[in-house]
């Protein structure tokens, strides 16, 4: 498939990643922090890495599946590294602390765990198909 440069700025990328991880758009302060860290640790992207990030930026709804695939088969992808940075930045922010701190189990505790685990597995299968389409092989 055709390789295109990244279609979005790091700022827009940060917004997509923030929504994916905690479900809401991060504040400008968090976006700035993310940008600073990504820039200070920037790596030369290969064509494949560029294609993956570019696809994730253009299709944010498919990002969870791509991430799920990468978590198992390609854990060192640049996409994962950037998501990891956003994860750490969000975690070290008061506004999102409750989204990361240990949670008390309620009545639906086991159902939540089972549901999220099933969703995670489904996302891996979906990720296999998406990454295959982009041209990433296990």
């Amino acid at each position: 498939m055709r390789i295109s440069p990244l279609p979005m700025t790091t700022e827009e990328e940060a917004r997509i990643f923030g929504i994916y991880i905690v479900g809401s758009a991060p504040s400008q302060e968090i976006i700035n922090r993310y940008e600073k860290i990504v820039r200070s640790s920037s790596v030369n992207l290969t064509k494949k890495e560029t294609a993956i990030i570019s696809f994730a930026q253009r299709h944010p709804r498919l990002l969870p599946a791509m991430d799920a695939y990468a978590a198992i088969f390609k854990p060192h992808l640049e996409l994962r590294r950037r998501l990891f940075i956003m994860f750490a930045v969000l975690e070290a922010t008061p506004k999102y602390s409750e989204e990361f701190l240990p949670k008390d189990r309620g009545i639906l505790y086991l159902l939540t765990i089972a549901g999220v685990s099933l969703r995670a597995v489904f996302r891996v299968f979906l990720g296999v198909a998406i990454m295959g389409y982009i041209g990433v092989r296990r």
């Binding site: 860290i37 978590a71 590294r81 940075i85 750490a88 930045v89 008061p94 949670k103 505790y109 969703r119």
Partner: protein, 539 residues
């Protein structure tokens, strides 16, 4: 400042601080020479709020948890120093520049910081057994007395429980342990129920003695359970070498010279001339003294001695504890929420003593995970970040990290060598090699499997074993072993470097064997003994 100093101590780490204190308390004039890198980062102020409170309310928390430049976000394999959080990372600053080391098999952590490796020490204070002290080459009675002295100085909290023979031995001068958290209370309860069974199989569990005070001492407050111990030294309740050095600097018979890297020494007519490198200007500066006490750590002191004795290409031995991380889960703790007022340090010690004589044992200690943040483990889980976050919130209250350590003995396959290096400011660097024998590998593997098996019986289920790079335990010793015979690159039993009259080594360089129990308490006891020996020889 005198032209000729009476006593110069090199290094401000655990052994340097204790040796200097012994000398200062005896009333002699002491000068400490040190590079002494300090934290100039905006994370230098201690966190004075509790961890959960900080997480919920402190907008500057990122400086402590991930670093203002993201320097605490470590991507990829677990490497040396992975446990060093951003506020403590200054301890390794300038190390690669001024004391370079190359190796494919050994990956140590050294420090030029004010307080040395003690800046990030886990504070565990196990006493060595008589059998271990004998193998190390230390006088048993004097070391026992020195343990008491050090304990009274730094403040140790401990419990005389059923594993006391392995943890505190005969120590009497200690404070009560801080209360353990829910995870560890569960382990203790299950262990106590079947204590006879476990002990019959050579497995002992007890509270870890820690250099943390639970009752106030002058200038230091009792531990407040802030659970920020990986990031901050609030209230000085945890002892760090710089606390002692700061106190010594208030005395008139103590002088601190920072910014100087001691590179070598020469001794003529009872005077030792020390060559130093000013790390700011790159200039060479000379200092003279009557007695030189090296306390730069086993690698640092060996480097100085090899350089001083022109031993380029000579191999000196090396000891370092092999160790592994064993993450475990406690299913009954899943979904238990977070715990406030918690102890962040290692809480329980586990001993495997197949022979039952406290000799050649393996040791493990355990931590619960709460204050280490999810991002440090999230990539270890086979989940995407969004689902991994949700699941981790339920799982982390049941996560316990064990660190297993094994003893080490000398072998021709473990050594250091000083080689020429034009790019280094000192013109040389250390080349290290560390290789375990197949028998040792097998034995440590079997012991770790035993840990796995026994921990299951304590309803704490190991999920994997992560073997770390050699040297990452940050325990180094045995580079200038004690010897009765007057051989070069060896120490006499009183800590004096053979073939010198006034050069002593007060760190772990002289150890002939490295027991599994962390060495820091013993190297401080040894530093006190060496300082006493120096005073005696000068009296």
């Amino acid at each position: 400042m005198k032209d000729i100093h009476d006593y110069i101590v090199v290094g401000s780490g655990c052994s340097g601080a204790i040796a200097a204190q012994t000398l200062v308390e005896a009333g002699v004039d002491v000068t400490m020479v040190d590079v002494g890198v300090t934290n100039t980062d905006d994370s230098k102020r201690p966190l004075s709020r509790e961890f959960i409170d900080t997480r919920k309310n402190d907008p500057n928390q990122y400086k402590y948890f991930i670093g203002s430049r993201g320097q605490g976000i470590s991507w990829g394999e677990i490497s040396k120093g992975a446990q060093v959080t951003p506020p403590r990372q200054y301890m390794t600053k300038d190390v690669d520049t001024f004391i370079p080391l190359s190796s494919k098999t050994f990956s140590p952590l050294e420090s030029l910081g004010y307080g040395g490796l003690g800046i990030g020490w886990g504070l565990q204070c196990w006493e060595y057994s008589d059998a271990d002290l004998a193998r190390v080459g230390l006088d048993i009675d004097r070391t026992r007395k020195a343990y008491e002295t050090v304990s009274n100085r730094i403040g140790i909290s401990a419990t005389k429980d059923s594993a006391a023979q392995y943890t505190i031995g005969n120590l009497t001068g200690f404070q009560p342990s801080a209360k353990s958290d829910k995870n560890h209370r569960l382990i203790q309860r299950l262990y106590t129920k079947r204590k006879k069974f476990f002990q019959k199989h050579g497995f002992y569990v007890g509270r870890t003695p820690l250099a943390v005070i639970t009752k106030p001492k002058p200038g230091r407050k009792a531990y407040r359970y802030l659970d920020t111990d990986f990031y901050s030294d609030a209230d000085k309740s945890a002892w760090r070498p710089w606390i002692t050095v700061d106190e010594l600097r208030k005395k008139t018979n103590f002088h601190y010279i920072g910014g100087l890297l001691v590179t070598s020494f020469e001794e003529k007519k009872g005077i030792v001339t020390i060559h130093t490198l000013d790390v700011s200007s790159g200039e060479t500066k000379l200092l003279k003294c009557r007695n030189l006490i090296l306390a730069s750590g086993a690698l640092g002191s060996a480097r100085i001695v090899m350089r001083s004795q022109g031993s380029i290409g000579t191999k000196v031995p090396l000891l370092s504890n092999p160790h592994s991380y064993i993450p475990c889960i406690q299913p009954s703790m899943f979904g238990k929420g977070y715990e406030k007022k918690k102890l962040g340090f290692g809480q329980l010690s586990y001993f495997i003593d197949p022979a039952g004589d406290d000799s050649g044992i393996s040791v493990a200690s355990s931590y619960s995970y709460q204050s280490l943040m999810l991002f440090r483990i999230i990539t270890q889980l086979p989940f995407n970040f969004a689902d991994g976050r949700i699941l981790s919130r339920f799982l982390t209250p049941g996560l316990v990290i064990m660190i297993a350590q094994h003893p080490d003995k000398h072998s021709p396959k473990k050594y250091l060598e000083l080689i020429k290096d034009k790019e280094s400011p000192t013109g040389d660097k250390i080349k290290a090699h560390y290789e375990l024998s197949a028998e040792d590998e097998k034995e440590w593997d079997e012991r770790e499997k035993k840990y796995v098996s026994v921990m299951r019986k304590l309803h704490t289920y190991p999920i994997k074993r992560v073997k770390t790079e050699h040297g990452s335990a940050i325990h180094y010793a045995g580079t200038l072993p004690f010897s009765e015979d007057s051989q070069s690159m060896h120490l006499s039993p009183n800590g004096r470097l053979h073939n010198t009259k006034h050069v002593y080594v007060a760190d772990s360089s002289g150890f002939q064997f490295l027991p599994a129990k962390g060495l820091t308490f013993t190297l401080m006891a040894n530093a006190h003994i060496v300082a006493e020996n120096v005073l005696k020889e000068n009296s």
